[in-house]
């Protein structure tokens, strides 16, 4: 589904990713771990198409619905409409715009692109409430401006509500676990697990292995200084937890 080849990227002239190679197949969950500053968030933003990051080399091939797409040549909104989703580490506030208005606009933009029928406000309201229940979000969030006056945990949970609504094929979760207490983390993990299917994939970016107790990854990759230095099964996460990163980066 996703083939990243020798990806180099940076910001303001500083190279951060120094040759990333990564293959993700449909149905898989991959976790990327690494110390602060290793390039984890940069990778997630480059996949989603953040305009401030400059790609200086390599390629990302994204295969969806029997189409092979050159992801790097696409605008961020087009990537989203082709099924790429990024759960933000720091979700952004949109004052005056309610979640229901925002998400219906996004949902219908994706429907339009994929040739599906758009949803009217009444049906969408019902659909959105179902997804909110899945993440145990209070229903009054539906009319509140997006992320404004949300607690840190609520913002993170709201990201997963959005993921549930937009139903992506490739979801990148950028440190969704940071700032969550253990109960919220369980709710978020359960939500993500319920959304797992054979035809979609998840890339979890995390600093700790805590989240990986609840969402079992198929592969764990260690990112250090802009490169993946080790890839193994889920047991690698536990090893990192007990031994730290130092032994991997000598």
């Amino acid at each position: 589904m996703l083939k990243i080849k020798d990806l180099h990227a940076g910001i303001e002239g500083k190279e951060i990713l120094k040759g990333i190679n990564l293959n993700i197949n449909a149905g898989e969950v991959h976790a990327i771990m690494g110390p602060n500053g290793s390039g984890k968030s940069t990778l997630s933003k480059v996949i989603a198409g953040h305009p401030q990051y400059e790609v200086t080399g390599g390629s990302i091939e994204y295969e969806v619905n029997f189409k092979k797409l050159n992801l790097l040549g696409m605008e961020p909104d087009l990537r989203a409409r082709e099924g790429v989703f990024l759960a933000f580490q720091y979700p952004v506030e949109i004052p005056g715009v309610s979640s229901s208005v925002f998400l219906r606009a996004a949902f219908n933009a994706i429907c339009r692109h994929q040739g599906a029928e758009e949803m009217d406000p009444i049906d969408f309201d019902k659909y959105l409430r179902e997804k909110m229940k899945l993440l145990e979000m209070d229903e009054n969030f539906i009319d509140r401006p997006v992320n404004v006056d949300f607690s840190g945990g609520e913002k993170k949970r709201n990201e997963i509500v959005q993921m549930a609504v937009l139903n992506p094929r490739l979801a990148v979760l950028d440190e969704t676990d940071s700032g969550l207490d253990i109960d919220s983390m369980k709710i978020v993990a359960e939500g993500v697990n319920k959304l797992r299917r054979k035809d979609n994939a998840v890339l979890l970016i995390t600093h700790y292995q805590r989240l990986l107790q609840f969402i079992q990854p198929d592969f764990v990759h260690i990112l250090y200084d802009g490169k993946i230095v080790k890839s193994e099964g889920k047991e690698l996460a536990l090893e990192v937890e007990s031994r730290g990163y130092d032994w991997l980066i000598k």
């Binding site: 953040h50 409409r81 506030e93 715009v97 933009a109």
Partner: protein, 478 residues
């Protein structure tokens, strides 16, 4: 048409010029100019006298120097004070007799005047340079006793009302531009809503500046008698020109006992090019008087055009329990300047005012909110709430808030909130990463920011307003 003009017209689709022969007396301002304007309009003697008094007063006045922006000197002798399109039929008895070229112009502006294509639910007075070319739905309104006509007609046909109210809210001595307007005002609209009548149509005036080097000095007067209601809309556009043009209007509103006037403006005068050449100087005095008890006046404005906008639609809250409201969105881009806000003067008991101001500034523009809340000693229990928010797009623009609060009654409650935010790359990326394209994302952010103001506009207007702001901002965010 040159490619440059074509390019500019893509950015400002109202920037075309109508080629029509005009009756345009020479430039310059003196008593003869005023006599000439008055004669052209076949005005009675008292009107001329009033104009001349205003002019003599104006000669003693100085141009105000207190705003925090500068503009090139205005040579008042280098302006045409009257320009009227020459029509085959000089005073068309009905709209079907209006010159075709003019009808076409208003069609192109989206203001159809012909019987078949008229906007439903809206009566329009169409003003072209110095004259009103026609007013729709007059017959229907007259059945209810509502008078809706051009100011020139009102002076002739309803002199008692005009004499009683003209200058009663904005006296001819009020300020430099109001005095100038009182001397040379050309056309505008006159609305009179009789006692107990709820006006079933939106009344509106569309102002079009067409003629070059001509000042437009419109004058509008709206009177709502006891227990009446009216909603009035105003729209304005002008052709693209490299020189600045002066627009100095005066609008007066009078609301008597239990009456309500809603006044909405979408101002889209030509704002100059990317380098700041040309555009309209929009120096306007708008004021309403809540004269009666329990009366209500609300100003809603979307200011998206003009090189410089300098205006403070105000409410004098004279009647007990009267209510004044001001909702404003001012958008400035390129080198535009806006210094706008309101004055709420509380005189009556338990008077209330609400101010919601949203300023959006991008490129090299300056956007200031300036507002006065004044509570007089008589205004027991007066209340005011003000909210002034600014949004900056990019790093070269600026926003200022100048709230003036004068409270002379200790039972009053005055609240002021202000904020400044930035539309930033992160917000745009967040929305786009959810599948919304550039335009949809800007539209959502602007809609959210201006929501409290847009919801005060009549529906069709609010849709237009959103589109207008999006169009203006598209080039600035990305």
């Amino acid at each position: 048409m040159s490619d440059v003009i074509k390019q500019k017209e893509n950015e400002y689709r109202y920037g075309f010029h109508t080629d029509i022969s005009e009756d345009k007396p020479p430039k310059g301002l003196n008593e003869d100019t005023i006599r000439l304007i008055s004669a052209k309009k076949k005005e009675p003697e008292w009107m001329l006298e009033w104009r001349l008094k205003a002019f003599r007063h104006w000669l003693q006045m100085q141009e105000p120097s207190w705003p925090n922006f500068e503009y090139g000197p205005i040579d008042y002798q280098d302006i045409y004070y009257y320009a009227a399109p020459k029509q085959k039929n000089e005073s068309p008895a009905s709209l079907s007799e209006v010159d075709e070229e003019l009808v076409k112009t208003f069609d192109r502006l989206g203001i159809p005047l012909s019987e078949q294509k008229r906007l439903t639910g809206v009566a329009v007075d169409a003003v072209f340079d110095s004259i009103s070319v026609g007013t729709t739905h007059q017959g229907e309104l007259a059945k209810l006793g509502i008078i809706f006509c051009s100011m020139s007609e009102a002076v002739i046909h309803h002199p008692d009302l005009v004499k009683k109210y003209l200058g009663s809210v904005v006296p001819y001595t009020d300020n430099f531009y109001a005095s100038l307007n009182s001397a040379v005002f050309s056309d505008g609209s006159f609305c009179y809503i009789p006692q107990g009548v709820r006006c079933p149509l939106e009344l509106s005036t569309y102002f079009r500046i067409n003629s070059e080097n001509t000042g437009q000095f419109e004058r509008t007067l709206i009177i709502a008698e006891d227990n009446s209601y009216v909603s009035y809309l105003e729209g304005c556009t002008a052709p693209i020109r490299d020189t600045n043009q002066l627009h100095a209007a005066v609008v007066e509103l009078v609301a008597l006992d239990n009456a309500e006037i809603k006044y909405s403006t979408v101002q889209n005068w030509y704002s100059g090019d990317k380098e700041g050449r040309g555009g309209i100087y929009n120096f306007v005095t708008k004021r309403g008087k809540c004269k009666g008890a329990n009366s209500k006046i609300s100003w809603t404005q979307v200011e998206a055009g003009s090189a410089i906008t300098w205006k403070y639609p105000s409410v004098i809250l004279q009647g007990d329990n009267s209510i004044g409201k001001f909702y404003s969105v001012a958008l400035t881009n390129n080198h535009m300047i806006a210094d706008t806000g309101t004055k709420m003067v509380h005189i009556g008991k338990n008077t209330k005012s609400t101010i919601v101001s949203k300023g959006i500034s991008s490129d090299f523009a300056h956007n200031s909110y300036r507002g006065l809340v004044k509570i007089m000693p008589t205004a027991d229990g007066a209340r005011n709430f003000s909210q002034c928010d600014s949004m900056l797009v990019g790093n070269n623009c600026s926003a200022n808030t100048f709230p003036y609060i004068e409270v002379e009654n200790n039972t009053a409650v005055v609240e002021h909130e202000a904020s400044t935010s930035k539309i930033n790359a992160e917000q745009m990326f967040y929305l786009r990463s959810r599948g919304l394209d550039l335009e949809e994302s800007i539209s959502l952010i602007i809609n959210g920011f201006c929501k409290d103001v847009f919801k005060e506009l009549p529906l069709e207007f609010s849709v237009e307003a959103v589109k207008l702001l999006e169009m203006k901002l598209e080039g600035s965010i990305g």
